[in-house]
Symmetry: C2
DNA sequence: TAGATTGTTAATCGATTAACAATC
DNA sequence: TAGATTGTTAATCGATTAACAATC
């Protein structure tokens, strides 16, 4: 179970393994070989075995992998056996959409608070959580053991807000603002730059069309 | 200006270049060297030059790159000089949030329609666009020159809906459903798997905490 | 025991970085 | 012309794939 210096390429694939294993588990499948999984997921069996072996041996020669065991282990690696408390900064459309998404709760990501600087939103409820004024966020973070801040605010305020949150103990950001945060060493940032993603799609669409025209 | 077989690693970096160059442009900066950009973006100058040279020479020895020119060129590469028509399938919280996000419009991504199978949402307006029943989507796609379908529906229906849309001429999907679409060759898919992203953050948070404990 | 399939080492491939000649 | 900085080739690094011995 030794883990050190696992590359982000591997980490990035774990949630997808987790998803497929969850589906197999739900279908009642008991064991799976790297070859079967390879066919299902369209990645090489070799890569699957290499990826799993970064975390120690989960399989058994001649048998393959036990689906439920592997599912649980990957869940643990991803930290899904622990509870994470999160707050959403910015209660606009996107913030509310994320707040309403119950599936995160199922995985142990518990929404504890929502904040906005727009008074029109104060008191508005997203599930059980009331939107609070931004002025209250510092105290709230200090007193409620918050791990993750979800930033669904405009880029103009994101960098400043992140700074304040770090000063009050936030350890991780799920950043939807279209800006690079530049936080101190050891603070984790996961960016979701939606417009970047849309531009990538646009490029690939464009490129394919052009190739078609050439023949 | 020859382009062929550009790796997705390079494509994935273009939107970020585009963003930084846009900011420099707005600040009135006229020229930038790969070295300066390197300092700003925290990537190597060598990588910057290699990336740009995939698309031909945008710079000038001894001078660097003209900010506005480079900005425009990368925009063109990303297809942002063209207009794209898109529809949103699934008018729930996330669908509405994306529909309301005006910035996409600024880049030429025009929302043309929204669809949902929930009658309670029919007629609801997101900006100028009324939510329509799912039954209307096939005809709408055929008659309105739609390029991109945004899927903000549950995974259970996403695969089937995608199939129908492909049959009616959709060429690209921006997929927020937590499932792999598996479309025919030549149809573009850009996945935004939010829960995968959150799990990655969870992993990195976990890992860092563990390392701290060991000392 | 024979067959299957892992864990792991070695080979290959691709992406990043370094170096430098070309040239503005 | 001298200085700066690109475009591009070569070197390095890391990630993926192939191969196979270990072992259930």
């Amino acid at each position: 179970m030794e883990e050190k210096g696992i590359s982000q390429a591997v980490i990035g694939r774990l949630p997808r393994y987790f998803r497929y294993l969850g589906e197999l588990k739900d279908e009642g499948v008991e064991r799976v070989s790297s070859q079967e999984l390879s066919g299902l997921m369209h990645v090489t069996a070799s890569q699957i075995r290499q990826d799993f072996n970064n975390f120690g041996g989960f399989g058994q020669q001649g048998y393959g992998y036990n689906v439920e065991f592997l599912y649980e282990e990957i869940g643990k690696i991803l930290g899904l056996n622990k509870t994470h408390h999160l707050i959403i900064i910015g209660a606009g459309n996107l913030g509310q959409a994320l707040g309403n998404y119950m599936n995160f709760e199922r995985r142990g990501f518990i929404l504890k608070g929502m904040f906005d600087k727009n008074p029109a939103l104060y008191g508005k409820k997203v599930r059980e959580i009331e939107v609070q004024p931004m002025e209250k966020v510092e105290e709230f973070v200090r007193e409620n053991d918050i791990d993750i801040a979800v930033l669904t605010i405009p880029k103009s305020s994101a960098v400043g807000v992140a700074e304040v949150l770090v000063a009050n103990g936030i350890k991780a950001f799920w950043n939807f603002a279209h800006v690079d945060l530049n936080v101190p060493e050891g603070i984790q940032v996961e960016n979701v730059h939606l417009s970047d993603s849309l531009m990538k799609l646009s490029y690939n669409l464009e490129r394919y069309n052009q190739e078609q025209e050439k023949g």
